[in-house]
């Protein structure tokens, strides 16, 4: 068991080291040869790794706290929007999934429109529109996250509920069980792996949605704003943008890992079962 853990940690370290080595190697190679395909490399295109890391501990801007602190605060802001959206989207998604499961008509009527990703393209517009309605600034963004969560959750809830073994359903009928009882005791547990599959997708999607949603408005408090801001000043301070991206990546991975951990705790079943 301990050997397993050691191996896992070892692989993690190896991957980390490998990525850094790849970055530095690529950079060094391109700097010395001056190749321009696929893109030209200089200190602005690819800042030194040390500079990116050290930038985190420098002030975000003049008279401001250290960058890493500022970024973490912004990340929390974005995280709250994403989390709120995720929870709402999940609840609504599960409800709609159940409705689709029981009503074939509703399913045929509405399922084709349950396609999530394109919402991202209209996100800034929705945010502008809702923002103009006088809602608190973070709400329209949470709505985007909710939408992006709702779609995969609804679809997978439906698939999961439909996947229940017909023999188990027969068993419940032999107990003269009510529809609700069967739903709760058999169909829902069968649907859990599918649900968590959707949750993992939705975790990422709600973070992405929150970041994109922050773009158009003057929301300065989140990561989206930080990205836009540092993108503007990229020629002066490239490391800041890279550092911000690292924090954004960490946020996305964090949401994903949280869902994965909850899955491990909730879905206790035969090891071979994977959805």
């Amino acid at each position: 068991m301990a050997v397993n853990l050691l191996k896992r940690v070892g692989i993690f370290v190896a991957v980390l080291v490998g990525l850094c080595a790849f970055y530095m190697g690529y950079r060094q190679l391109y700097l010395s040869t001056g190749w321009t395909r696929p893109f030209k490399v200089d200190e602005y295109a690819m800042p030194r790794l040390q500079d990116i890391v050290s930038r985190l501990w420098e002030p975000a801007a003049t008279d401001q706290p250290v960058l890493v602190q500022v970024l973490v605060q912004k990340a929390l802001f974005t995280a709250r929007e994403a989390a709120a959206g995720f929870v709402i989207g999940a609840i609504v998604g599960i409800a709609i999934g159940i409705v689709f499961h029981f009503s074939n008509l509703m399913r045929r009527g509405f399922q084709p429109y349950v396609v999530g990703s394109p919402i991202l393209a209209i996100a800034p517009m929705v945010v502008i529109w809702l923002g103009g309605q006088g809602l608190p600034v973070w709400m329209p963004v949470a709505v985007i996250s909710a939408f992006l969560t709702f779609f995969p959750v609804a679809i997978n809830t439906l698939r999961g509920l439909d996947s229940a073994d017909p023999r188990k359903l027969e068993l419940m009928r032999s107990y003269a069980a009510s529809e609700w009882s069967t739903l709760w005791r058999v169909k829902f547990p069968c649907a859990l792996p599918y649900l968590f599959s959707a949750f993992k997708v939705a975790a990422t999607a709600s973070v992405v949605g929150a970041i994109i949603g922050e773009l158009p408005s003057s929301i300065q408090d989140g990561l989206g704003g930080a990205i836009l801001n540092f993108a503007q000043y990229y020629s002066l301070d490239p490391s800041a943008l890279w550092a911000t991206n690292i924090i954004a990546a960490a946020l996305g991975i964090l949401f994903f890992v949280i869902v994965a951990i909850v899955e491990r705790l909730v879905v206790r079943r035969a090891p071979e079962h994977v959805a």
């Binding site: 394109p118 393209a121 490239p238 954004a248 949401f255 959805a275």
Partner: protein, 260 residues
């Protein structure tokens, strides 16, 4: 019921909902007097769609080419990487969780860096779209290649089949459903990636910029018309992949098996 009747019965409710939705939208805006700059009527959007076509349709095509090439690049590298990792199994299974985690990174956040590298024209959007496509294609293709049942390989070996034959006759047909699932996902992601990538900076000839600018100017009917163009192209792209899937799978009927 004949196939045609079944097809109609299956799709009728959805079409009905679409029609009802559009009609309801039109009436709601009219009766509640919602202002144009908040939510335009479908008829106004349709008008804008036609009026602005000389700007929107070329922009749509431009953005589509960004998405398409991003798709090609991302899929190519994704499949290539999957093939390599399928060959070196322990490496593949050790790294798999990392690839899955990598798909959790908000890749779109790298758009400004893409702009710094490739400028704001096509290149940076192709880069983003390719990055978005890469991981899902890699993860799914690798899953497909490694999901071959040992008994089938054993069978081939009993015919003294070499590695290449096993690959061609067993691994490829088995992984095809997985690959096509990934391709369909990638087609959607590529389109989204191109458009949203443009929100971080681009030029007038790109559809995303058209959406962004019209929205900023509160010309929502043009913005929605541009989105309509994006939807049409996105759906067309997806359908093209789906058709390719049907055509290919016909050659490998036995592979039409356990899809996730």
């Amino acid at each position: 019921m004949t196939r045609a009747r079944r097809f109609v019965a299956e799709w009728a409710p959805a079409v009905l909902i679409l029609v009802l939705g559009l009609v309801g939208w039109e009436l709601a805006v009219k009766t509640f007097g919602i202002q144009k700059f908040l939510l335009p009527k479908p008829s106004e959007i349709a008008t804008a769609f036609w009026d602005e076509r000389s700007i929107l349709w070329p922009a749509g095509w431009y953005t589509f080419t960004e998405a398409f090439w991003g798709f090609v690049v991302g899929v190519f590298f994704g499949i290539a990487a999957a093939l390599v990792l399928a060959r070196f199994r322990p490496l593949g299974s050790a790294l798999m969780p990392y690839f899955v985690a990598a798909s959790a990174i908000p890749i779109i956040a790298f758009a400004p860096i893409g702009n710094a590298w490739f400028g704001i024209e096509k290149g940076s959007k192709i880069f983003i779209a390719a990055l978005l496509c890469f991981f899902p294609v890699l993860v799914n293709t690798l899953r497909g290649l490694t999901s071959v049942r040992p008994q089938q390989v054993e069978l081939m070996r009993s015919y003294a089949a070499g590695n290449a034959a096993v690959f061609r006759r067993v691994r490829i047909p088995t992984s095809l459903p997985y690959v096509f699932t990934a391709l369909k996902v990638a087609s959607v992601l590529a389109m989204i990636g191109a458009i949203v990538g443009e929100y971080f900076g681009g030029s007038q000839q790109q559809l995303g910029i058209q959406i962004k600018n019209s929205a900023a100017l509160f010309q929502f009917e043009t913005a929605w018309a541009a989105i309509l163009v994006a939807c049409i192209l996105g759906i067309a792209f997806y359908l093209a992949v789906a058709l390719a899937e049907i055509a290919t799978m016909r050659r490998y009927p036995s592979a039409e098996r356990a899809r996730r």
